[in-house]
């Protein structure tokens, strides 16, 4: 299974907030395996989507120079199930950011309804001994391109984000 739980960003403002979307589809394997006969997107995978949306927002804000690792999920609440045909929107915002870690809040919506919310806390690990490499640069760049970060992304001054030259 490929571990991508957001499809692309629609809005991305460096160091502040971002909105990503995911189209929930009956073609996904977990729809058939998680609760046989009941096709829904498990909230545990929605948490992973929250972490991917917020994690990329954080990683970009620190120029990808540390490994951004999901450390804690606090106060996660879900109000209804996301089912095939739904478009899930992930609205992520950075609440606080320090060299060693960051606190973010992510809200998911389907249409106008809030589907879920959580605070996601990341640890920022210095590359080095005992810290595994999470991505090869070209692999990460391909993912960022697929996420449309450099199509929609803006910096603090409202200027387009510059694609890293890796």
């Amino acid at each position: 299974m490929r571990w991508f739980w957001i499809d692309r960003f629609e809005e991305f403002v460096r160091g502040k907030h971002a909105t990503a979307v995911k189209n929930v589809s009956l073609a996904e394997e977990h729809m058939h395996d998680h609760f046989p006969g009941v096709a829904l997107m498990p909230n545990s995978l929605i948490v992973e989507g929250m972490a991917q949306a917020a994690g990329l927002l954080v990683a970009e804000a620190i120029d990808y120079n540390r490994r951004v690792v999901l450390a804690k999920v606090a106060g996660a609440e879900f109000h209804f199930d996301a089912v095939p045909g739904d478009t899930l929107k992930f609205r992520a915002e950075i609440l606080d950011l320090k060299p060693a870690g960051s606190l973010t809040r992510v809200k998911t919506t389907v249409g106008d309804e809030v589907q879920g919310e959580a605070e996601i806390f990341f640890a920022h690990l210095e590359p080095g001994d005992g810290v595994p490499k999470l991505f090869e640069p070209e692999e990460l760049l391909r993912w960022l391109d697929q996420m449309h970060i450099y199509d929609v992304g803006r910096d603090e001054a409202g200027q387009p984000l510059t694609r890293p030259d890796w």
Binding site: D96, K98, A100, G101, F121
Partner: protein
């Protein structure tokens, strides 16, 4: 200037949110690690929450001086030496280190910090 009880209430809320513990578990004498189950990543989370709750800035290493506890200058055979204890006391005037001093093994430090120490630390920052 907030009272000691007001500070305690906000510290308790921060710890309940960060550690997922019940309010009544957060007593002044509860230890952060042994009783409340805090892990290293939780301390950064707690720093974020205390900063927000009290509008203060907590420089890295001020509340939890991990650099002292991992320094080869201060630690020998897993124990903090006299210079290390002095450094720790200077850095943590808010903490009651009497029990730790009796057996200053680094691994014991985790069970030294209490909720009351957190309250005293915040008091020292807000002047309560």
């Amino acid at each position: 200037m907030p009272s000691r009880d007001e500070i305690f209430e906000k510290v308790r809320t921060a710890l309940v949110d960060a550690l997922g513990v019940d309010e009544d578990e957060v007593s002044p004498t509860a230890t952060m690690v042994g009783d409340l189950g805090a892990e290293s990543i939780d301390f950064l989370d707690i720093v974020f929450r205390l900063e927000k709750a009290f509008g203060i800035k907590i420089p890295r290493g001020e509340l939890f001086p991990e650099d002292v506890l991992s320094s080869t200058e201060y630690v020998a055979d897993g124990k903090l030496n006299a210079a290390g204890l002095a450094a720790l006391k200077a850095r943590m005037p808010f903490a009651d280190l009497a029990k730790f001093e009796a057996d200053p093994s680094v691994q014991n430090f985790a069970n030294t910090l209490t909720v009351e120490d957190m309250v005293r630390y915040v008091q020292s920052k807000v002047g309560g």
